[in-house]
């Protein structure tokens, strides 16, 4: 089965096609935050490069976040539209899982962090397991300082990955036992998405398309303000 992966959780727009033979084609563009403009032409391009028709795809995998709200909505809307148009199943994958997956060969505690704007990060803790990584706790939203204290408290060797880690490098740089992954691993990758989703697709771990929604981890401001006023 061929999978199409769509990844738009950060400033980057990515898509990839793959299957049993691994990733056949992929395209990533991190310039200009042009999610809506770039995504469809990029998908058209990789189909051409892989020599397939979009209708040959048997499953759509999508990065559901956490990440940039607008980017996520572009990716999730397009992914659901394609899955609906082809009547094929979907699998949603976390952006933090994708980041951790790229550094899965490290024996250290892996911490993925995505820039959440407003001085906050989305983050998750991972440990290497055979064939990938395992998330150790819930994905969270918090400040870089809080994350730094948590890292210190673990008393472990830590590998920190993601654009959130790099954005607040000055908070994490001085910490003992904490290393920042190189910039090439700064964004979730659509190729990793296809690789991660493929075994799940083989096990038919599909999700109801209705259930696939961006993982926001933050309520709309208006809703927060409203509930504080009406307590």
């Amino acid at each position: 089965m061929l999978l199409l992966g769509i990844e738009t959780a950060t400033e980057q727009v990515g898509c990839a096609i793959g299957g049993h033979e691994g990733v056949l084609a992929s395209a990533h563009c991190a310039k200009g935050r042009r999610h809506a403009e770039n995504l469809t032409p990029q998908i058209e391009f990789i189909c051409g490069q892989a020599g397939i028709e979009l209708s040959d795809i048997g499953l759509v995998a999508v990065d559901v976040g956490p990440g940039l709200f607008t980017g996520l909505r572009v990716g999730v809307s397009a992914a659901k539209a394609i899955a609906f148009a082809l009547s094929i199943p979907m699998i949603g994958v976390s952006s933090l899982d994708l980041l951790a997956f790229t550094v899965r060969y490290s024996p250290r505690l892996i911490v993925a962090a995505i820039d959440a704007r407003r001085g906050e990060l989305y983050h998750g803790f991972y440990r290497q397991v055979p064939g990938g990584v395992q998330r150790l706790s819930a994905q969270q939203l918090g400040t870089p300082d809080d994350l730094a204290s948590e890292l210190l408290a673990t008393n472990e060797e830590v590998l920190l990955v993601g654009d959130g880690a790099r954005r607040y490098a000055e908070v994490f740089d001085g910490l003992a036992r904490v290393e920042l992954a190189e910039i090439g691993n700064g964004f979730p990758s659509a190729s990793s998405l296809v690789q991660l989703a493929h075994p799940r697709a083989m096990r038919e771990e599909f999700e109801q398309p209705e259930a696939i929604q961006p993982l926001y981890l933050r309520r709309p401001d208006a809703e927060i303000n409203w509930s504080t006023r009406h307590r």
């Binding site: 809506a36 469809t40 209708s55 909505r73 659901k80 539209a81 609906f84 398309p209 709309p220």
Partner: protein, 359 residues
């Protein structure tokens, strides 16, 4: 036509329920329209730019009511959840499959950028998957087409008054794709004035229907609110009227709310109707039509048609569900646009400030 919340979302996967036909057996141009510029998630199938096969509108008005206005982030999230189920329902009701479509059209602006992007992204993905052209549609151009969609015999030059929460403009339509701006509001849109006055009077949200209702029991001549710029050109101004309402109520705390609502509504409608008939006379229009959410207002509908009859000009008001935001008008405008200009590129984005004029 369907309006209101969508019935239990149809299962859109697998889609065994949609009868499938040969993709090439449909010579008739069917366009799927998608509208997500504000707080309605709408999808429609229109044949030939004139025949509405389905028009599904899922209104988020209840989601926004407690905030007293549309919250962009709340709207964007709801569009993301609703768009595919609404699309599924529109296709099922029309009895067509995606591969029978001739094009997919979506609103690309003006509107809320985050909300627009949901519709644009899905529309381009549909177009790519079904191998049909994508057509970018200006939301205001679509409002112009609402009247033509229901009354294809309207003669050019046609003058259309678009009145909604975001816009108040008089447009001369000389032909398909050939428009001239005759006048527009210099401050608040008419619908915005309705919302603000309704909120001030404690009538709730949305303001249009609230004022319309309250005015039923009031005397429209009770208070002589100003008719701004009545005799100056074809532009509008409503912010002074809103201030006049506030001042009047502060000075007369015991005034009847129904009278205020009725008098305010009469002042707005007077100016809208007066300028529309003058615009039609100025350009020698053969027909006059209404569009936009405020066109659902009872008094405006009455007086508008009355004025057309008095002036001996063909007047047309689309049904209420065609006046408010819907996707049938997007599909219709998209069809005519596609005939004139062909497909839009797949790297089209949303343009929240897209203008119908000097593009």
């Amino acid at each position: 036509m369907r309006k209101g919340s969508i019935a239990p979302a149809p299962l859109w996967w697998p889609t065994g329920r949609v009868r499938s036909e040969h993709p090439c057996s449909h010579p008739v141009p069917l366009v799927l329209g998608i509208e997500t510029s504000c707080d309605e998630t709408a999808v429609a199938v229109v044949r030939d730019g004139t025949e509405v096969l389905s028009s599904v509108v899922s209104s988020q008005v209840d989601l926004h009511a407690r905030y007293g206005g549309v919250v962009p982030e709340v709207a964007s999230r709801a569009h993301t959840e609703l768009l595919v189920p609404v699309t599924a329902q529109a296709l099922v009701e029309a009895g067509v499959t995606g591969r029978q479509l001739a094009a997919v059209a979506a609103t690309t602006g003006p509107g809320l950028v985050g909300a627009l992007l949901v519709g644009v992204s899905a529309a381009k993905a549909f177009a790519l998957t079904w191998q049909v052209p994508f057509v970018a549609v200006n939301h205001l151009e679509a409002h112009l087409y609402a009247a033509l969609l229901e009354e294809p015999d309207l003669a050019f030059p046609l003058v259309v008054l678009i009145v909604s929460g975001g816009h108040t403009m008089l447009v001369e339509m000389l032909d398909h794709g050939d428009y001239r701006l005759l006048g527009e509001t210099l401050d608040d849109a008419a619908g915005e004035a309705f919302d603000k006055v309704a909120r001030f009077l404690g009538l709730g949200y949305p303001g249009g229907p609230a004022i319309d209702n309250a005015a039923l029991d009031g005397d429209p001549s009770a208070i002589a609110f100003p008719r701004a710029m009545r005799n100056e050109g074809l532009d509008f101004s409503f912010s002074g009227l809103k201030t006049a309402v506030v001042n009047h109520v502060r000075e007369n705390p015991d005034v009847s709310t129904a009278d205020v609502a009725a008098s305010f509504q009469a002042a707005v409608v007077d100016v809208l109707v007066e300028k529309s008939r003058r615009a039609a006379a100025d350009v020698g229009a053969r027909a006059l039509a209404l569009g936009g959410g405020v066109a659902a207002n009872t008094l405006l509908r009455e007086q508008f048609l009355g004025a057309c009859a008095d002036d001996g000009i063909q007047g047309f008001i689309p049904t209420r569900s065609m006046c408010t935001d819907n996707a049938a008008m997007i599909a219709a405008a998209g069809w005519y646009r596609h005939q004139r200009l062909g497909p839009s590129p797949l790297d089209t984005g949303a343009d929240p400030r897209d203008r119908l004029f000097h593009r």
